[in-house]
Amino acid sequence: MACISSQGELSESARKMLAAMDASATPEDVASRTELPLFRVRAGLREMAEAGLVELNEEAYSPTQLGRSLLTP
């Protein structure tokens, strides 16, 4: 998995993406803020949505409570 390891830990790119999201962000916003390639952001956000870490509302994603909790040390 690109964003979540088999141990359920976030990859570095997933952390970057989650940290770059405020209330709501499009993949283009996240790509711009993280300097990750857009294709990778799209694939990563889709994967994180399947894992319940972000949710999609129309064309923008926002972190879920679970997603936010994984960012805090």
Partner: protein, 230 residues
């Protein structure tokens, strides 16, 4: 494992020929076949590249010498391609573990990072979809194919090399420059064109156009053969 995405219409809704294209091998000017595949960067769909140019290329096998030289060459042009809004996506009929081990080996032996994802097409789904297997060469290894797909998902160029001949990545870069110049300026590019050279003005279709052409300040050898700088 790769799995084909059913939503071809959604994938290529901007392309008028999508419904015709979905069941056949890639054709120039037609929508690229949609796919979802496991890669060294996770599961990726063709639609993830919407808005960027994509160079989808296959190689015969990991841990082989010609392919290694090609990967070094593709890695070398990756920064130039990125400047042109072009992404690379490799493919072979190998597992993700094999790809990862090979990429790590390239880093260890040559000191080069491979920055692009590689499809692990163990079940040959994407290779079959794109016609990358040439039975006359091999039934188990993909030939050296290159598909240039534009930001709206249309196949713009295809190159096929045999197993024995490594590709010229400078030509791939030149091809991208030519395609992008064509799109931007609505012109064609002559043989051996490179950025900075004059381009071909499309031939006129009417007598009126011919007269206008000859007075337009182009460098014309004859009415049908005019060049200009861009």
């Amino acid at each position: 494992m790769s799995s084909l995405v059913e939503s071809t219409v959604q994938e290529t809704s901007h392309a008028p020929a999508a419904s015709v294209q979905s069941a056949s091998l890639p054709r120039l000017g037609m929508a690229a076949p949609a796919f979802e595949a496991v890669t060294t960067h996770g599961k990726i769909r063709l639609s993830d590249f919407h808005g960027t140019w994509l160079v989808l290329f296959s190689h015969p096998a990991d841990f082989t010498p010609v392919c290694t030289t090609e990967f070094l060459a593709f890695a070398a042009i990756a920064p130039e391609l990125r400047k042109r809004n072009v992404e690379l996506l490799g493919l072979s009929i190998d597992s993700t573990s094999s790809h990862i081990a090979w990429v790590r080996n390239i880093k260890e032996k040559f000191g080069i990072d491979i920055p692009f994802p590689i499809i692990a097409d163990s079940n040959k789904e994407v290779a079959t979809l794109y016609g990358m297997l040439m039975p006359g060469e091999s039934k188990t290894e993909t030939s050296r194919c290159v598909f240039v797909i534009d930001p709206v998902g249309i196949v713009r160029a295809m190159i096929y090399y045999p197993l024995t001949t490594g590709r010229n990545t400078d030509e791939i870069l030149r091809l991208l420059d030519a395609l992008q110049t064509t799109d931007k300026h609505k012109v064609a590019t002559p043989a051996n064109w490179k950025p900075g050279d004059k381009v071909i003005v499309p031939p006129p279709a009417t007598m009126e156009d011919v007269e206008a052409r000859l007075n337009a300040g182009y460098e014309c050898t004859d009415w049908y053969f005019c060049k200009k700088s861009v």
